[in-house]
């Protein structure tokens, strides 16, 4: 039996408020499933679980604020005996009439539950978070008729009709739907704290290089010409992949500086700066970015962009990055000089790609180019290695078909 504890989502986080459980007691979980939504200074974050197991007792009530490290739930390992669900199956039978037939029948009249659109626990009990159960009781809604959108198909409060105007949230304030979005005021404070610390503590050095993008943009145009819009690639995906592969070669630029010591990271989890509409910036991690195919990386970038802008941030995305890439995109300007996100030690910045005159052999030609910069921590590396990193990115972008 293990304990799931309030995670630390940054060095400045002291406590967190449980907004909602997205799981039910007795529910099996796999690594990476989202267990709860926790309100932090950065906004409401989806908290993931990092080992497979079964949810035991939930130790926190929704709305409770506890310090980092406080136990939130019991987790029974896969090897342990499964915990019985908090309520015996017979208790739910009265609320949820027989769910024996898993085969969906013809569309049921609205008053009757449709068969098994939600998930069931090992005991046959419908999986629903405590808030969803409470809300369903309040609204006199039968859980059996609802479709679950939580992990493993569990019913969460948002799945219950009328959830939007539901019960008061933490601190007795009315719960708004925006509750699960990002708090821009708090985000600004979090950025301010991190960037002030970075400029105070990290001896930055900066390097800049111009990369010819003709090979990359031609390859991209040819690749996209044959693809449906949903399958198309952006230049950003190539820049990210090249950066991730180069970081893998230079471990002194991919890791964390913690308590006076540099700790290189084994994997490359690339933080990607994503602008939030209306202001604000968040840099979720794309895990193992160096190992992803260009299509998978593009899909991850698309998914992260959509979730960040919808305010759906996962805990691991905020804590896992080993280096960050910030790319201004086509509506930016030509150069970007980054501020390192501590405790990382490097930030790679791309300006917008532009057509510029360049000398090719002995002629002047218009060429697509991009300026790339490196801001790096002098405690962990020197300019020579940093320059090799930028050269490696350049070289990789000359053979886009290999990315």
């Amino acid at each position: 039996m293990g304990l799931f504890k309030m995670p630390s989502l940054g060095s400045d986080m002291e406590d967190g408020t449980l907004v909602e459980w997205l799981v039910a007691e007795g529910q099996p979980m796999k690594r990476g499933d989202i267990i709860a939504v926790v309100e932090t200074q950065k906004g409401a974050i989806e908290i993931e679980i990092f080992e497979a197991g079964t949810i035991g007792r939930l130790l926190l009530q929704e709305g409770e604020t506890v310090p980092v490290g406080a136990p939130m739930a019991e987790i029974v390992g896969l090897d342990d005996e499964p915990v019985p669900a908090a309520a015996p199956p017979s208790a739910s039978a009265s609320a949820a009439p027989a769910q024996k037939a898993p085969r969906p029948g013809p569309v049921a009249p609205p008053a009757k539950p449709t068969p098994s659109p939600h998930a069931e626990g090992p005991s046959g009990r419908i999986l629903a978070s405590p808030a969803a159960r409470r809300l369903a009781t309040e609204k006199n809604v039968d859980l059996a008729g609802l479709k679950g959108s939580g992990p493993g198909g569990a019913i969460v409060s948002a799945d219950v009709p009328g959830a939007a105007e539901a019960a008061p949230g933490p601190k007795g304030q009315p719960r708004q739907q925006a509750r699960r979005g990002l708090d821009m005021g708090e985000m600004r404070k979090a950025i301010a704290a991190a960037m002030a610390r970075s400029k105070r503590e990290i001896p930055h050095y900066y390097l800049q290089h111009t990369i010819d993008l003709e090979a990359a943009t031609s390859w991209l145009a040819a690749a996209n010409a044959e693809r449906a819009p949903t399958e198309r690639l952006l230049l950003a995906a190539l820049l990210l992949k090249a950066s991730a592969l180069a970081l893998k070669q230079y471990p002194e630029l991919n890791g964390h500086y913690i308590e006076g010591e540099y700790r290189p990271a084994k994997a490359v989890h690339l933080g990607v700066g994503i602008a939030i509409r209306g202001g604000g910036l968040i840099a979720p991690a794309i895990r193992d970015a160096d190992t992803l195919s260009i299509d998978t990386l593009m899909a991850a970038l698309r998914d992260a962009t959509q979730r960040m802008r919808a305010g759906r941030v996962r805990s691991s995305e905020l804590t896992d990055s080993t280096a960050t890439v910030s790319s201004l995109g086509e509506r930016g300007v030509e150069g970007l000089w980054g501020v390192i996100y501590p405790p990382q030690v490097a930030l790679i910045g791309f300006g917008k790609a532009v057509l510029r005159p360049a000398v090719i052999e002995d002629r002047v030609e218009p060429r697509m180019q991009v300026q790339v910069s490196l801001a790096a921590d002098h405690r962990a590396s020197d300019g020579h290695r940093g320059a090799l990193l930028l050269n490696a990115i350049d070289k990789l972008l000359q053979t886009p078909e290999t990315l």
């Binding site: 449906a228 949903t230 952006l234 962009t305 995109g329």
Partner: protein, 81 residues
């Protein structure tokens, strides 16, 4: 489908991607990307949504025609005709 109907669909898809944007406030020949702060990922998602919804083929080479409201509506009307 009339041009007004196409425009309504275009505006709907833009506000799905950028909920705070008001495409109706943009001059028909102004660059949507500047007016509504849309980046390349937003434009790609809007084109993908229009492709999915209207079944119109939109090759990458034609994407620049979607930079304005007028250009988008004209292009879609032509393809749907």
């Amino acid at each position: 489908m009339t041009e007004d109907e196409i425009k309504a669909i275009l505006f709907e898809e833009i506000t799905t991607i950028a909920p705070d944007a008001d495409p109706g406030s943009v001059a028909p020949d102004a660059d949507l990307r500047d007016a509504l702060d849309l980046d390349s990922m937003d434009m790609l998602n809007i084109i993908a949504a229009l492709h999915g919804r209207l079944g119109v083929d939109i090759p990458e080479a034609d994407a620049p025609q979607f930079f304005t409201v007028d250009g988008s509506v004209r292009y879609l009307a032509r393809q749907l005709a």
